[in-house]
Amino acid sequence: MRTLSLRVNGDDVEVAAPDHWTLLEVLRYRLGLTGSKQGCDKGDCGACTVLVDGKPWLACITLAANAEKREVTTIEGLMPAHLRAGGTGPDPVQAAFDKCGALQCGFCQPGMMLSARALLDRNPCPTRPEIRDALAGNLCRCTGYTQIFEAVELAIAESLGVAPAPRSWEAQRMPPEEAQARARAAAARLRAEREKRKS
């Protein structure tokens, strides 16, 4: 048994846990932060993804001891951090996942949203392929990923103040010309934004 000194969601906490406990077990069963999920036992599914120093790690195969002296962010930490930073309501990623229907059973999504948050923190306007790649370690069994991509894109668009492209199902329900025009406009705005950031 050791006393771990962890920094979780901005708080310094001391918690006693045996050495062979994973970070996930300490978060869920010692600190009561049950938002991080467990799906596969051993690093295959991504449901336990947390951010460690801003990078997505799998808490189910992280020794709790190895998280000491690092900044751990779980899904429970996003909204408070957003509020502390002067925002309102949940983190824009969380709000976008909710608005886009990306949360079906919701079980994989805490990990998914943290992977998305890590992506947007290092690259504020990624392309669809970059989003796909960044989320490729988070298995979702409900959505077929489409509404997840759309949610990340909505979060991007909202953070840039850009009108988002119509979601796939919306586009199918509006006149094709209108859908295309909206998609093109959104793509152009994002391209311009990317160029601006590059230069």
Partner: protein, 340 residues
Amino acid sequence: MLRLPKFDVARPSTVSEAVALLAEGGPSAMIVAGGTDLLPNLKHELFAPDVLVSLAGIPELAGVREDADGWITIGAMTSLADLAAHPLLARKAPALAQAAGVVAGPQLRSMGTLGGNVMLDTRCQWYNQTYFWRQALGFCLKKDGTLCHVVAGGKKCVAAASNDTAPALMTLSAVLEIEGPEGRRTLPVDEFWVADGIWNKKLEPGEILVGVRLPPGRAGHRGAYGKLRDRGSIDFPLLGVAARLDLEPDGTVADADLVVTALAARPLRIQKARALLAGTRVGTPEHDRAVVEVGEKAHAQCHPLENVPGDADYRREMVPVLVRRTLAAAARGEGPVHPL
């Protein structure tokens, strides 16, 4: 959830401390780097250490630097994600950067390290399973049993080397830096491997892999990595190919190297590649013929087994395809060849 067995964790802050802890723990101590291979294996009860010596708190072990002599030194604890994104490596060791970039999935690459990937345990469908599963099987040659289920009557374990970076390092003539109770030693990565699935590395008890050094490459260095797997992420390789082409300014191959992995207990160099490719000029029919011939030689030389999941005949059939495509990508300065 699957639980880890009980052990203590030691967190040294220097390499010498780590070596001392390892010596103190003896055979019941193990090194853990990123833990992405070891922790699942521990949950499967493949090892039962009393002490895990974690390298996570040793800052000197992380980082990539180019030395004055043109050698590149990569600390063993450098994350695979950092390797994949490193501009110096993208230029000077593209096969390694590409291989690191297609290991497992994004989270494992941000946790996993180069040292850990080099030290990856060999893999087999009869071995990488839970204790319950292996018990129901009656265990296997590699762990707790006496029978090989891959090769009937086999006396030697044929679990597969499954580390993507290993073949890339071989094509780059990398040198491993190892520290142990006797001090520091270096070993060319080519000499590191043993064709024994139970333990396929020449790392002595008490030693730690602390870094990898890459010699300066030629001016026209090209490299690529190709990986066969069922999904575009997460999976281990069913087949991996690393290629190096050193090109003269006119595109003539001055030197070449080709290493295939995920077939047997150690990565395999395709012996005829250098001879067949050298002297051919990229973009000519002669070069293209040589590439095809290298693929055929590789096919003849490689005999995948039913060790990792995936049909062995199919994996063998893919050897020449992946070889051709990886060489083509290297010639064009592209890659990785993935998904296939």
